[in-house]
């Protein structure tokens, strides 16, 4: 039987990450994948409302404390698709996620797109 261990590696407290949840797809402007490319700027209003500017859109979101936190698992050996049917393996818990920024409202398009030369 396959046994895959999920553990934190025991070196100190687990990192806390944030989850950013967006509707739909995120596509790179240029071909060549997303790696290395910018997504956008994340601001917060004084009331704590997250505001994300992505490309030509402004997204307003809200902070959600997750009832069920997530563990971020990274497979040892770097296989791309995690699958319980593989041979004995090990997943490391890299971080925990207890909060997410949920952007559900329809993005407001930025109508005037005039990049300002600085």
């Amino acid at each position: 039987m396959v046994q895959i261990v999920i553990s934190s590696g025991g070196t100190g407290a687990l990192a806390q990450w944030l989850l950013v949840e967006l509707q739909g797809e995120v596509e790179p402007r240029q071909s060549g994948g997303l790696a290395g490319s910018l997504l956008g700027d994340l601001h917060y209003t004084h009331e704590g409302v997250p505001v994300l500017i992505v490309g030509h859109h402004i997204l307003y979101g809200k902070v959600v404390q997750l009832e069920k936190p997530f563990a971020v698992l990274v497979k040892e050996g770097g296989a791309p698709q995690p699958s319980p049917a593989g041979p004995h393996g090990h997943y490391t818990v890299t971080a925990l996620i207890k909060t997410k920024l949920l952007f559900k409202t329809r993005p407001k398009p930025i109508i005037t797109h005039v990049p300002k030369k600085v």
Partner: protein, 387 residues
């Protein structure tokens, strides 16, 4: 990768017609990290599991290739399933909330945050019953018939240690150890064994005969005297094991005694009688049964729940062996099997045969509603198959 400057951020704000005065000064510039592929995956944690991981404990995914995978903590088992969301989930290390930014006045103006991974799905967990039927099946491959049994010497069957069982059973360690206790398994030379029923009855008989000849009260059977008197007939560990299985251990004035368990002993003797035929005349059985149990014990039909079934429709009434542990583990298969044995069941009769299927907060009633159809028969509510 381009690194955004304050000026660029401000320019974007202006284009977007957002008023910087309404925003906190700090901004996160999010970009995709160099390895932001599908290497990370998300596991949604049920209550308690987060604390387990934070305490440094591990979880284990277990399953054969043809089984659904389960996730086990030290003491619980969960079904695993992939949940798809239509949304994009971005994993951002070191991203702060507004609260955290406000709490730290020295927050950098521009925080360059790299998205470590993204996903459109995550693993979802649901607490489930541990898959323990396999445990009994494995141990029944080679029941222990005693030290004199030639079979044990030359046995080619696998024997299982705790570690072996952990690698074969889809359950947590505590659930496995608990079940081993429930089925009265014992360790012989480091391996978990189930006693062959005839051998078990032989051991029990030694003890009950001794109790009778010594006129000990059933509630106060001394361990030492048993070991002394019976030690020449059977291994001491086996004598102690049978006392532990069929009695409740306690200490009185520094000495160990056992309070014999009437219900369990009567039940075992009933099994011994019933396994010799397909069915019995009920009243004849009850007579023989009462005569076969130790002096001072009283037999009752309710001691046989989940072991035997009475057929009240036959003339004369009959009783036959039906062990719940021989029935399928899967809910639907269990009900199919039960309705194959008998078309219509009362709730009282069927309960002992479905009780073990109940999930954490599920009732027998809920199971019946889901898997059976009810009707009235001679003024009594009965359940039959939905098929």
């Amino acid at each position: 990768a381009a690194v955004r400057s304050r000026a660029e951020v401000d320019a974007t704000l202006q284009t977007a017609k957002l008023n910087p005065a309404e925003l906190l000064p700090a901004v996160h510039c999010l970009s995709f990290g160099p390895r932001a592929g599908g290497e990370c995956c998300l596991l949604q944690l049920e209550p308690g599991l987060c604390a387990e991981l934070e305490a440094g404990r591990s979880l284990v995914i277990r399953g054969e290739k043809d089984e659904h995978a389960v996730l086990c903590s030290k003491d619980k088992t969960y079904d695993m399933k992939i949940a798809d969301t239509s949304n994009m989930l971005l994993l951002v290390p070191g991203c702060k909330t507004a609260e955290e930014l406000n709490a730290d006045p020295a927050s950098c103006n521009i925080i360059h945050s790299q998205i470590a991974g993204f996903s459109k799905n995550y693993w979802e967990l649901r607490r489930c019953r541990p898959k323990l039927k396999k445990l009994r099946k494995l141990l029944m491959e080679d029941p222990y018939e005693g030290p004199d049994s030639e079979k044990d010497q030359t046995s080619t069957f696998s024997k299982y240690t705790t570690e072996d069982l952990l690698s074969l059973i889809q359950a947590s360690e505590e659930e496995i150890l608990h079940q081993l206790q429930v089925i009265d398994a014992c360790k012989v030379e480091g391996y978990w064994r189930i006693l062959d029923f005839d051998y078990e009855m032989k051991l029990l008989n030694h003890v009950t005969q001794l109790i009778d000849s010594e006129s000990w009260p059933l509630s106060k059977v001394p361990l030492c005297a048993c070991l002394e008197e019976l030690g020449s007939l059977e291994p001491r560990e086996m004598i102690e094991h049978i006392l532990l299985s069929y009695g409740r251990k306690y200490v009185d004035d520094g000495e160990i005694f056992f309070e014999m368990r009437e219900d369990k002993i009567c039940r075992a003797i009933a099994q011994m009688l019933l396994q010799n035929a397909v069915k019995f005349n009920l009243s004849e059985f009850q007579e023989v049964w009462q005569q076969s149990v130790p002096e001072g014990m009283t037999t009752r039909l309710d001691q046989l729940q989940g072991l035997a079934l009475v057929d009240k429709s036959s003339r004369p009434e009959t009783i036959f062996l039906l062990k719940v542990e021989d029935l399928p583990e899967d809910n639907q298969e269990r009900f199919n099997s039960l309705f194959g044995i008998r078309e219509k069941w009362t709730e009282v009769d069927i309960t002992p045969y479905i009780q073990d299927l109940c999930a954490e907060k599920q009732t027998v009633g809920a199971l019946l509603t889901k898997y059976a159809r009810s009707s009235m028969l001679n003024g009594v509510k009965v359940y039959n198959s939905r098929r």
